[in-house]
Protein backbone atom coordinates (compact mmCIF):
# COMPACT_ATOMS: atom_id res chain seq x y z
CA UNK A 1 0.00 0.00 0.00
CA UNK A 2 1.26 3.49 -0.84
CA UNK A 3 2.19 5.44 2.29
CA UNK A 4 1.40 9.14 1.88
CA UNK A 5 1.82 10.08 5.54
CA UNK A 6 4.84 12.31 4.82
CA UNK A 7 2.99 14.12 2.01
CA UNK A 8 -0.03 14.60 4.26
CA UNK A 9 2.18 16.02 7.01
CA UNK A 10 3.02 19.17 5.03
CA UNK A 11 0.81 21.95 6.36
CA UNK A 12 -1.36 24.03 4.03
CA UNK A 13 -0.46 21.82 1.08
CA UNK A 14 -2.48 19.36 -1.00
CA UNK A 15 -0.17 17.11 -3.00
CA UNK A 16 -1.88 16.07 -6.25
CA UNK A 17 -1.50 12.32 -5.98
CA UNK A 18 -2.87 9.70 -8.37
CA UNK A 19 -5.68 9.08 -5.88
CA UNK A 20 -6.65 12.77 -5.80
CA UNK A 21 -6.36 12.89 -9.59
CA UNK A 22 -8.85 10.03 -9.81
CA UNK A 23 -11.22 11.78 -7.40
CA UNK A 24 -10.95 15.09 -9.27
CA UNK A 25 -10.92 13.78 -12.83
CA UNK A 26 -14.20 15.29 -14.03
CA UNK A 27 -13.68 18.53 -12.09
CA UNK A 28 -10.28 19.00 -13.73
CA UNK A 29 -11.50 17.98 -17.19
CA UNK A 30 -14.38 20.47 -16.82
CA UNK A 31 -11.73 23.12 -16.09
CA UNK A 32 -9.87 22.14 -19.27
CA UNK A 33 -13.04 22.68 -21.29
CA UNK A 34 -12.84 26.37 -20.33
CA UNK A 35 -9.81 26.74 -22.61
CA UNK A 36 -12.36 27.28 -25.42
CA UNK A 37 -14.00 30.70 -25.66
CA UNK A 38 -17.42 29.27 -26.56
CA UNK A 39 -17.37 27.09 -23.44
CA UNK A 40 -16.32 30.02 -21.26
CA UNK A 41 -19.26 31.99 -22.59
CA UNK A 42 -21.70 29.16 -21.87
CA UNK A 43 -20.18 28.65 -18.39
CA UNK A 44 -20.55 32.30 -17.43
CA UNK A 45 -24.05 32.53 -18.89
CA UNK A 46 -25.33 29.73 -16.62
CA UNK A 47 -22.68 28.12 -14.41
CA UNK A 48 -25.05 25.65 -12.76
CA UNK A 49 -26.32 24.33 -16.10
CA UNK A 50 -22.78 24.05 -17.45
CA UNK A 51 -21.56 22.11 -14.40
CA UNK A 52 -24.58 19.80 -14.61
CA UNK A 53 -23.28 18.59 -17.98
CA UNK A 54 -20.34 16.98 -16.12
CA UNK A 55 -20.40 13.86 -13.92
CA UNK A 56 -18.97 15.83 -10.98
CA UNK A 57 -20.06 15.43 -7.37
CA UNK A 58 -22.46 17.98 -5.93
CA UNK A 59 -19.70 19.09 -3.52
CA UNK A 60 -17.37 19.76 -6.44
CA UNK A 61 -20.03 21.75 -8.31
CA UNK A 62 -20.80 23.84 -5.21
CA UNK A 63 -17.10 24.54 -4.62
CA UNK A 64 -16.83 25.85 -8.19
CA UNK A 65 -19.94 28.00 -7.82
CA UNK A 66 -18.52 29.37 -4.53
CA UNK A 67 -15.04 29.88 -6.09
CA UNK A 68 -13.73 28.07 -3.01
CA UNK A 69 -10.34 27.03 -4.39
CA UNK A 70 -9.20 25.28 -1.22
CA UNK A 71 -12.36 23.17 -1.26
CA UNK A 72 -11.73 22.36 -4.94
CA UNK A 73 -8.22 21.19 -4.00
CA UNK A 74 -9.68 19.07 -1.21
CA UNK A 75 -12.04 17.45 -3.73
CA UNK A 76 -9.32 16.48 -6.21
CA UNK A 77 -8.73 19.73 -8.11
CA UNK A 78 -5.26 20.72 -9.25
CA UNK A 79 -4.27 24.36 -9.37
CA UNK A 80 -3.09 24.29 -13.00
CA UNK A 81 -6.55 23.07 -13.99
CA UNK A 82 -8.37 25.38 -11.56
CA UNK A 83 -6.46 28.26 -13.15
CA UNK A 84 -8.80 27.91 -16.16
CA UNK A 85 -11.68 28.94 -13.88
CA UNK A 86 -9.97 31.95 -12.32
CA UNK A 87 -8.41 33.03 -15.63
CA UNK A 88 -11.91 33.05 -17.13
CA UNK A 89 -12.94 35.28 -14.20
CA UNK A 90 -10.09 37.65 -15.11
CA UNK A 91 -7.97 36.80 -12.05
CA UNK A 92 -4.19 36.29 -12.03
CA UNK A 93 -2.46 33.47 -10.16
CA UNK A 94 -1.47 35.89 -7.38
CA UNK A 95 -5.05 37.11 -7.01
CA UNK A 96 -6.54 33.61 -6.94
CA UNK A 97 -3.81 31.92 -4.92
CA UNK A 98 -3.88 34.58 -2.21
CA UNK A 99 -7.53 33.66 -1.44
CA UNK A 100 -6.27 30.33 -0.04
CA UNK A 101 -3.97 32.07 2.45
CA UNK A 102 -4.45 34.19 5.57
CA UNK A 103 -3.69 37.34 3.56
CA UNK A 104 -5.52 39.83 1.37
CA UNK A 105 -4.19 40.18 -2.18
CA UNK A 106 -2.28 43.34 -1.19
CA UNK A 107 -0.76 41.68 1.88
CA UNK A 108 0.17 38.61 -0.17
CA UNK A 109 1.89 40.75 -2.82
CA UNK A 110 3.77 42.62 -0.09
CA UNK A 111 4.91 39.28 1.37
CA UNK A 112 6.22 38.16 -2.03
CA UNK A 113 8.09 41.44 -2.56
CA UNK A 114 9.65 41.03 0.88
CA UNK A 115 11.04 37.62 -0.13
CA UNK A 116 8.06 35.30 0.16
CA UNK A 117 6.76 33.06 2.92
CA UNK A 118 9.52 31.59 5.07
CA UNK A 119 9.46 27.79 5.27
CA UNK A 120 10.16 28.06 9.01
CA UNK A 121 7.13 26.75 10.86
CA UNK A 122 5.64 25.36 7.64
CA UNK A 123 7.65 22.17 7.09
CA UNK A 124 5.50 19.83 9.21
CA UNK A 125 2.08 19.92 10.78
CA UNK A 126 3.88 19.30 14.09
CA UNK A 127 5.27 22.86 13.78
CA UNK A 128 1.84 24.46 13.45
CA UNK A 129 -0.17 25.84 16.35
CA UNK A 130 -3.24 23.64 16.74
Amino acid sequence: MVDNSELDDIPGTTVFTAERSRQGYHLNQMCMSLMKAENRDRFHADERAYLDEWPMSEEQKQAVLDRDFQRMLDLGGNVYFLSKIFASDGLSYVQAVSTMTEYTVEEYQAMMLAGGRSPDGWRSKSERPS
Binding site: V15, V79, S83, S92, M100, G116, R117, P119
Partner: protein, 280 residues
Amino acid sequence: MARITAGLTTSHVPAIGMAVDLGKTEEPYWQPVFAGYEWTKKWADAEPPDVVILVYNDHASAFDLSVIPTFALGTAASFQPCDEGYGPRPVPVVEGHPELAAHLAQSLILDEFDLTLINELDVDHGLTVPMSLVYGQPEAWPTKVIPLAVNVVQYPAPTGRRCFNLGKAIRRAVESYEEDLSVQVWGTGGMSHQIQGARAGLINQEWDNRFLDLVVSDPEAAASIPHIEYLRETGSEGIEMVMWLIMRGALGERVQELHRFYHVPASNTAVGHLVLEPVD
Protein backbone atom coordinates in the same frame (compact mmCIF):
# COMPACT_ATOMS: atom_id res chain seq x y z
CA MET B 1 29.41 13.85 -34.66
CA ALA B 2 26.85 15.86 -32.68
CA ARG B 3 28.10 17.36 -29.41
CA ILE B 4 26.52 18.86 -26.31
CA THR B 5 28.13 22.29 -26.17
CA ALA B 6 26.33 23.94 -23.25
CA GLY B 7 23.45 23.69 -20.83
CA LEU B 8 21.32 26.19 -19.06
CA THR B 9 18.61 26.26 -16.44
CA THR B 10 15.92 28.86 -15.97
CA SER B 11 12.57 29.40 -14.34
CA HIS B 12 9.61 29.63 -16.73
CA VAL B 13 7.08 31.78 -14.83
CA PRO B 14 4.13 32.66 -17.12
CA ALA B 15 4.04 36.29 -15.90
CA ILE B 16 7.57 36.73 -17.32
CA GLY B 17 6.19 35.88 -20.75
CA MET B 18 3.37 38.36 -20.28
CA ALA B 19 5.86 41.07 -19.27
CA VAL B 20 7.76 40.45 -22.53
CA ASP B 21 4.62 40.33 -24.67
CA LEU B 22 3.14 43.49 -23.12
CA GLY B 23 6.39 45.50 -23.24
CA LYS B 24 6.79 45.71 -19.45
CA THR B 25 10.37 44.53 -19.15
CA GLU B 26 11.66 47.98 -18.12
CA GLU B 27 9.09 48.45 -15.37
CA PRO B 28 10.61 48.59 -11.86
CA TYR B 29 9.09 45.24 -10.85
CA TRP B 30 10.43 43.40 -13.91
CA GLN B 31 13.67 45.23 -14.71
CA PRO B 32 15.77 43.27 -12.15
CA VAL B 33 14.47 39.96 -13.57
CA PHE B 34 15.43 40.75 -17.15
CA ALA B 35 18.74 42.34 -16.09
CA GLY B 36 19.75 38.87 -14.89
CA TYR B 37 19.44 37.55 -18.46
CA GLU B 38 21.38 40.31 -20.25
CA TRP B 39 24.64 38.36 -20.10
CA THR B 40 22.86 35.26 -21.38
CA LYS B 41 21.30 37.06 -24.34
CA LYS B 42 24.71 38.28 -25.54
CA TRP B 43 26.20 34.82 -25.07
CA ALA B 44 23.26 33.20 -26.86
CA ASP B 45 23.42 35.60 -29.82
CA ALA B 46 27.15 34.94 -30.21
CA GLU B 47 26.87 31.16 -30.38
CA PRO B 48 23.38 29.88 -31.21
CA PRO B 49 23.41 26.08 -31.23
CA ASP B 50 21.85 24.05 -34.03
CA VAL B 51 19.40 22.40 -31.66
CA VAL B 52 18.16 22.89 -28.10
CA ILE B 53 16.72 19.90 -26.25
CA LEU B 54 14.34 21.85 -24.05
CA VAL B 55 13.17 20.10 -20.89
CA TYR B 56 9.97 21.62 -19.54
CA ASN B 57 6.58 20.77 -18.18
CA ASP B 58 3.17 21.39 -19.63
CA HIS B 59 0.71 23.11 -17.27
CA ALA B 60 -2.67 21.61 -18.20
CA SER B 61 -2.32 23.13 -21.68
CA ALA B 62 -1.51 20.46 -24.27
CA PHE B 63 -1.98 17.60 -21.79
CA ASP B 64 -5.11 17.15 -19.73
CA LEU B 65 -5.67 14.23 -17.34
CA SER B 66 -6.70 11.78 -20.08
CA VAL B 67 -3.06 10.80 -20.75
CA ILE B 68 -0.19 11.56 -18.35
CA PRO B 69 3.20 10.68 -19.85
CA THR B 70 6.13 10.88 -17.45
CA PHE B 71 8.60 11.74 -20.22
CA ALA B 72 7.35 12.83 -23.66
CA LEU B 73 9.64 13.72 -26.56
CA GLY B 74 8.41 16.07 -29.27
CA THR B 75 9.32 14.48 -32.60
CA ALA B 76 7.40 16.84 -34.91
CA ALA B 77 8.77 19.28 -37.50
CA SER B 78 7.18 22.23 -35.70
CA PHE B 79 5.28 23.13 -32.54
CA GLN B 80 2.68 25.87 -32.27
CA PRO B 81 2.46 28.10 -29.19
CA CYS B 82 -0.54 26.93 -27.12
CA ASP B 83 -3.67 28.87 -26.47
CA GLU B 84 -3.61 28.65 -22.66
CA GLY B 85 -7.05 30.17 -22.36
CA TYR B 86 -6.24 33.79 -23.20
CA GLY B 87 -4.91 33.38 -26.76
CA PRO B 88 -1.51 32.02 -27.84
CA ARG B 89 1.60 34.02 -26.93
CA PRO B 90 2.73 36.22 -29.88
CA VAL B 91 5.97 34.29 -30.35
CA PRO B 92 7.39 32.51 -33.40
CA VAL B 93 6.50 28.93 -34.21
CA VAL B 94 9.00 26.56 -32.61
CA GLU B 95 10.82 24.58 -35.30
CA GLY B 96 11.72 21.03 -34.35
CA HIS B 97 14.51 18.73 -35.50
CA PRO B 98 12.64 15.52 -36.39
CA GLU B 99 15.75 13.65 -37.58
CA LEU B 100 17.66 14.11 -34.32
CA ALA B 101 14.44 13.55 -32.37
CA ALA B 102 13.90 10.21 -34.13
CA HIS B 103 17.49 9.24 -33.34
CA LEU B 104 17.02 10.25 -29.69
CA ALA B 105 13.76 8.28 -29.48
CA GLN B 106 15.37 5.10 -30.77
CA SER B 107 18.58 5.48 -28.76
CA LEU B 108 16.90 6.36 -25.48
CA ILE B 109 14.29 3.60 -25.62
CA LEU B 110 16.95 0.99 -26.39
CA ASP B 111 18.92 2.53 -23.50
CA GLU B 112 15.89 1.62 -21.33
CA PHE B 113 14.24 5.05 -21.03
CA ASP B 114 10.71 4.32 -22.21
CA LEU B 115 9.69 7.69 -23.62
CA THR B 116 6.31 8.67 -24.99
CA LEU B 117 6.72 10.12 -28.50
CA ILE B 118 4.56 13.02 -29.61
CA ASN B 119 4.10 13.97 -33.24
CA GLU B 120 1.52 16.66 -32.55
CA LEU B 121 2.22 19.03 -29.69
CA ASP B 122 1.40 22.63 -28.88
CA VAL B 123 3.90 24.15 -26.44
CA ASP B 124 2.94 26.35 -23.51
CA HIS B 125 4.75 28.99 -21.44
CA GLY B 126 6.92 26.29 -19.88
CA LEU B 127 8.79 26.11 -23.19
CA THR B 128 8.27 29.55 -24.73
CA VAL B 129 9.16 31.70 -21.69
CA PRO B 130 12.74 30.31 -21.58
CA MET B 131 13.00 31.00 -25.33
CA SER B 132 11.93 34.61 -24.77
CA LEU B 133 14.33 35.07 -21.85
CA VAL B 134 17.31 33.82 -23.86
CA TYR B 135 16.47 35.08 -27.38
CA GLY B 136 14.17 38.06 -26.78
CA GLN B 137 11.61 38.82 -29.48
CA PRO B 138 13.06 37.74 -32.86
CA GLU B 139 11.04 37.20 -36.07
CA ALA B 140 12.04 33.55 -35.97
CA TRP B 141 13.80 31.57 -33.23
CA PRO B 142 17.50 31.22 -34.09
CA THR B 143 17.66 27.54 -33.15
CA LYS B 144 15.67 24.39 -33.59
CA VAL B 145 14.08 22.85 -30.51
CA ILE B 146 13.26 19.31 -29.42
CA PRO B 147 10.75 19.55 -26.56
CA LEU B 148 11.07 17.04 -23.73
CA ALA B 149 7.97 17.33 -21.53
CA VAL B 150 8.18 15.92 -18.00
CA ASN B 151 5.19 15.25 -15.78
CA VAL B 152 5.65 17.29 -12.61
CA VAL B 153 1.95 18.12 -12.18
CA GLN B 154 0.61 14.81 -10.87
CA TYR B 155 2.60 13.25 -8.03
CA PRO B 156 4.97 11.55 -8.33
CA ALA B 157 7.21 13.30 -10.81
CA PRO B 158 10.12 11.11 -11.93
CA THR B 159 12.84 11.04 -9.26
CA GLY B 160 15.80 13.37 -9.44
CA ARG B 161 18.02 10.31 -9.93
CA ARG B 162 15.92 9.11 -12.88
CA CYS B 163 16.12 12.57 -14.46
CA PHE B 164 19.88 12.74 -13.94
CA ASN B 165 20.33 9.33 -15.55
CA LEU B 166 18.08 10.30 -18.46
CA GLY B 167 20.35 13.28 -19.00
CA LYS B 168 23.37 10.97 -19.15
CA ALA B 169 21.56 8.82 -21.70
CA ILE B 170 20.74 11.92 -23.76
CA ARG B 171 24.45 12.70 -23.87
CA ARG B 172 25.24 9.20 -25.15
CA ALA B 173 22.47 9.47 -27.72
CA VAL B 174 23.58 12.89 -29.00
CA GLU B 175 27.18 11.77 -29.28
CA SER B 176 26.15 8.80 -31.41
CA TYR B 177 24.44 11.03 -34.01
CA GLU B 178 26.55 11.29 -37.15
CA GLU B 179 25.78 14.82 -38.29
CA ASP B 180 28.03 17.53 -36.90
CA LEU B 181 25.53 19.42 -34.74
CA SER B 182 25.93 21.73 -31.78
CA VAL B 183 23.31 20.77 -29.18
CA GLN B 184 22.35 22.49 -25.95
CA VAL B 185 20.19 21.04 -23.20
CA TRP B 186 18.00 23.39 -21.15
CA GLY B 187 16.37 22.43 -17.87
CA THR B 188 13.51 24.73 -16.90
CA GLY B 189 11.10 25.36 -14.02
CA GLY B 190 11.54 26.20 -10.36
CA MET B 191 12.94 27.45 -8.18
CA SER B 192 11.03 27.45 -4.87
CA HIS B 193 7.35 28.24 -5.22
CA GLN B 194 3.95 27.07 -4.04
CA ILE B 195 0.79 28.29 -5.72
CA GLN B 196 -1.86 26.42 -3.73
CA GLY B 197 -3.19 26.12 -0.21
CA ALA B 198 -2.57 28.05 3.01
CA ARG B 199 1.22 27.69 2.53
CA ALA B 200 1.15 29.46 -0.87
CA GLY B 201 3.91 31.99 -1.44
CA LEU B 202 6.62 29.83 0.11
CA ILE B 203 10.15 30.80 -0.95
CA ASN B 204 13.33 29.19 0.40
CA GLN B 205 16.31 31.27 -0.71
CA GLU B 206 18.82 29.34 1.37
CA TRP B 207 17.77 25.99 -0.11
CA ASP B 208 17.61 27.37 -3.65
CA ASN B 209 21.13 28.76 -3.47
CA ARG B 210 22.47 25.50 -2.10
CA PHE B 211 20.76 23.68 -4.97
CA LEU B 212 22.39 26.03 -7.50
CA ASP B 213 25.77 25.11 -5.96
CA LEU B 214 24.99 21.38 -6.05
CA VAL B 215 23.81 21.43 -9.66
CA VAL B 216 27.14 22.94 -10.66
CA SER B 217 29.57 21.10 -8.40
CA ASP B 218 27.95 18.02 -6.87
CA PRO B 219 25.14 16.81 -9.14
CA GLU B 220 25.28 13.33 -7.57
CA ALA B 221 24.17 14.89 -4.28
CA ALA B 222 21.48 16.91 -6.06
CA ALA B 223 20.22 13.75 -7.76
CA SER B 224 19.83 12.07 -4.35
CA ILE B 225 17.37 14.67 -3.03
CA PRO B 226 14.08 12.85 -2.34
CA HIS B 227 10.70 14.23 -3.41
CA ILE B 228 9.64 14.92 0.17
CA GLU B 229 12.55 17.36 0.57
CA TYR B 230 11.55 19.35 -2.52
CA LEU B 231 7.95 19.44 -1.28
CA ARG B 232 8.74 20.45 2.30
CA GLU B 233 11.57 22.88 1.56
CA THR B 234 10.70 24.47 -1.79
CA GLY B 235 6.90 24.31 -1.99
CA SER B 236 4.66 21.93 -3.86
CA GLU B 237 5.65 23.36 -7.25
CA GLY B 238 9.39 23.49 -6.43
CA ILE B 239 9.55 19.85 -7.50
CA GLU B 240 9.89 21.17 -11.07
CA MET B 241 13.60 21.42 -10.27
CA VAL B 242 14.06 17.70 -10.96
CA MET B 243 14.00 18.79 -14.63
CA TRP B 244 17.26 20.70 -14.11
CA LEU B 245 18.96 17.37 -13.42
CA ILE B 246 18.23 16.13 -16.95
CA MET B 247 20.26 19.08 -18.22
CA ARG B 248 23.02 18.44 -15.70
CA GLY B 249 23.26 14.72 -16.50
CA ALA B 250 23.69 15.60 -20.17
CA LEU B 251 26.71 17.84 -19.52
CA GLY B 252 28.99 15.15 -18.12
CA GLU B 253 30.96 15.01 -14.89
CA ARG B 254 32.51 18.44 -14.72
CA VAL B 255 31.19 21.80 -15.85
CA GLN B 256 32.32 25.38 -15.92
CA GLU B 257 29.83 27.92 -14.60
CA LEU B 258 29.58 30.82 -17.06
CA HIS B 259 26.71 32.72 -15.48
CA ARG B 260 24.40 32.59 -12.46
CA PHE B 261 21.38 34.63 -11.46
CA TYR B 262 18.89 34.42 -8.59
CA HIS B 263 16.01 36.77 -7.85
CA VAL B 264 12.85 36.88 -5.72
CA PRO B 265 10.09 37.32 -6.75
CA ALA B 266 8.55 36.90 -10.17
CA SER B 267 4.86 36.57 -9.39
CA ASN B 268 4.81 33.70 -6.83
CA THR B 269 8.22 32.29 -7.72
CA ALA B 270 11.96 32.45 -7.05
CA VAL B 271 13.81 32.87 -10.35
CA GLY B 272 17.01 30.86 -10.78
CA HIS B 273 19.26 30.71 -13.82
CA LEU B 274 22.57 29.02 -14.68
CA VAL B 275 24.62 28.81 -17.87
CA LEU B 276 27.09 25.93 -17.90
CA GLU B 277 29.64 24.46 -20.28
CA PRO B 278 30.90 20.89 -20.16
CA VAL B 279 34.59 20.45 -19.31
CA ASP B 280 35.90 17.42 -21.16
